[in-house]
């Protein structure tokens, strides 16, 4: 099942239960998978057209009136384009708004460099009060939706729109502020977020065959990062690799290093190395940007060698 279908289904459930839940679009409801919900929820869905700034501030106004708005558009427009509206209208004003950025990082594929956000997490991570969540699979996404909805404050979700394999079991319990330890290990910790989580698990299998036991931790919430879990695991294994579909400046790598600043633990990064995106299909972009299982394996060995 596509991630956006899970997202839309969960959103519809929330909207049925609570008329205060509403959705604002900026001409991308089809991309977000919510277009056909307009018929069922004419009083809860509003298309602002191509006007993201207005969408963000309208959401803030609705929140001040007791509504629980979600706004959705492509990742770069949900973050860097409306950074001031998210900062002032929403977070500074303590409004309850969910911001959904679809097609994060290289998943913008054929829309290319203009639509490829390598910086969205970095942009919003430096804004006080914004919770940043990057789901890894459909199970986690479904479990998270009601939690995000009931959170009082500003939440930003990076939403990979297409199919993703299931990683979490059906009885998975989601805690917004607790990272998920997927596999235990003793030689290094791979901290991974978003759609690359499966790749980290695949890398772990390969490493295991070579005698390296990796602990894999899914950091679904990059801010506030679960410092306790990050530090405990890093101390245990003594080596760290971060894996993210984002610039290594400002994203998960930065967040993990900040948590580990007082620890003397080697840490290496798999992520986008401070460059812009370009057009291409996912396999090409993964190769070009180094977001591959092979690179996770290679980088993990490097981290272990630095111990």
């Amino acid at each position: 099942m596509e991630m956006r279908a899970v997202y839309a289904e969960s959103l519809a459930e929330l909207m049925r239960k609570d008329k205060k839940v509403c959705v604002l679009d900026a001409d991308l409801s089809k991309a977000s998978g919510t277009r056909n919900m307009y018929d069922e929820f004419p009083e809860q869905m509003f298309d602002c057209g191509v006007a993201e700034q207005n969408m963000a501030s309208i959401a803030a106004g609705l929140s001040s009136y007791g509504f629980k708005p979600w706004i959705e558009t492509f990742t770069p427009f949900a973050t860097r384009r409306i950074c001031d509206q998210v900062t002032i209208s929403i977070s500074y004003a303590q409004q309850n708004v969910r911001i959904v950025g679809t097609d994060p990082g290289i998943s913008a594929e054929l829309n290319g460099g203009t639509h490829m956000s390598m910086e969205d997490v970095g942009v919003l991570r430096s804004v006080p009060g914004v919770v940043i969540f990057d789901p890894a699979d459909p199970v986690q996404l479904r479990a998270a939706m009601p939690v995000l909805d009931s959170y009082r404050g500003c939440v930003y979700m990076r939403l990979f729109r297409k199919e993703l394999p299931k990683i979490f079991p059906a009885d998975y319990t989601f805690d917004l502020f607790r990272a998920d330890i997927l596999c235990e290990g003793k030689d290094l910790t791979i901290f991974v977020t978003g759609f690359l989580t499966k790749d980290a698990l695949d890398a772990r299998e390969i490493l295991a065959k070579e005698g390296i036991q990796a602990e894999v931790i899914n950091v679904h919430t990059i801010k506030p990062i679960d410092r306790e879990t990050v530090i405990r695991s890093a101390r245990k294994t003594g080596a760290v690799v971060t894996v993210e579909n984002h610039n290594i400046i400002g994203g998960l790598h930065s967040a993990v290093l900040e948590a580990l600043a007082k620890e003397k633990i080697p840490a290496c990064a798999v992520g986008i190395t401070d460059r812009f995106g370009e057009v291409g299909k996912l396999p090409y972009l993964r190769e070009t940007m180094g977001l591959t299982v092979d690179n996770i394996v290679k980088t993990s060995k490097e981290a272990v060698s630095l111990k």
């Binding site: 509003f46 006007a51 106004g61 009136y65 002032i88």
Partner: protein, 273 residues
């Protein structure tokens, strides 16, 4: 409740001078230009309860030109939201009266504003919320003429008309001046009425936006247009710094200017006559 609005305007004007004068510097020009509007709204037209500032279904006022905060605080204090003594804490560390409006700090403030263009858009969201809630509230908002250069204003204008938000009554403080000079020279917004009409709004032009009776009758006329399916823009032709000659004469320099307590007291004495 028919009050002596002219006396109320004098009070608000003097309280602005007192609070900014006490501090020594502030956005005095754009505060003095909107006194009559605030008097008419807070003392005549708005359905509000100072004892219950967050009452559901109340009328709301979003001061999108957030730097007019001190003027709004003077009106709120006059209306009994908090003690007038608090006006002397304006912009002091730890105050609940910051230069720009903050709904989480100040009793009676309905929206956090200051980043220009955003408050207007938020007000449109509030009007949408009120429409959805099906209550009878009127949503008022004030923008600056310089602020009208922000693209977000026009995004929100388009949306408000498209959604038929006729419970939204907006005001432009058309004092013709902005920080860098006359609006017409910096980046002209004229013809302003035509622009709003073209965006699908009712437009009311008020020749003298510093005449409280003219402002009041414009607000009442705007209220009567509820049911038109269109939001209404009231363009207030005002004087920046209105009521204090030397401040008026500073021109664009009065946007954010120094004022001593002595100067403030002199101005107050003149206003009080």
């Amino acid at each position: 409740m028919k009050q002596d609005l002219k006396a109320i305007c004098r009070d608000i004007r003097c309280d602005i001078l007192t609070s900014i004068g006490h501090l020594g510097v502030g956005h005095i020009g754009g505060c003095l230009s909107v006194v009559e509007l605030l008097a008419a709204l807070y003392f005549e037209e708005m359905q509000i309860d100072p004892a219950d500032p967050k009452k559901e279904g109340r009328d709301r006022f979003v001061c999108s030109k957030g730097h007019a905060g001190p003027a709004v605080y003077a009106a709120l204090a006059g209306r009994g939201y908090f003690d007038k003594k608090e006006l002397l804490t304006l912009n002091q560390g730890g105050t609940d009266l910051p230069s720009h409006c903050d709904m989480n700090r100040t009793k009676g403030i309905d929206m956090t504003t200051g980043s220009l263009g955003q408050g207007f858009s938020c007000a449109v969201g509030v009007a949408l919320g009120s429409q959805l809630a099906g209550d009878n509230a009127t949503i008022y908002t004030l923008i600056g003429d310089g602020e009208s250069q922000e693209g977000q204003i026009w995004e929100a204008a388009m949306f408000a008309a498209a959604k038929h938000l006729d419970r939204l009554i907006a005001f432009t403080d058309y004092n013709k001046l902005q920080i860098d000079g006359p609006v017409s020279e910096v980046n002209d917004i004229a013809p302003l009425s035509d622009k709003w009409r073209a965006f699908g709004w009712n437009v009311i032009d008020v020749a003298n936006g510093n005449d409280v009776e003219e402002v009041l009758s414009a607000i009442r006329k705007a209220k009567e247009m509820r049911g038109s399916g269109k939001p209404t823009m009231v363009i207030l032709n005002t004087v920046k710094g209105c009521g204090v000659k030397w401040i008026e004469e500073l021109g664009p320099g009065n946007h954010n200017t120094n004022i001593t307590e002595e100067q403030a007291n002199e101005a107050i004495a003149q206003i009080r006559g």
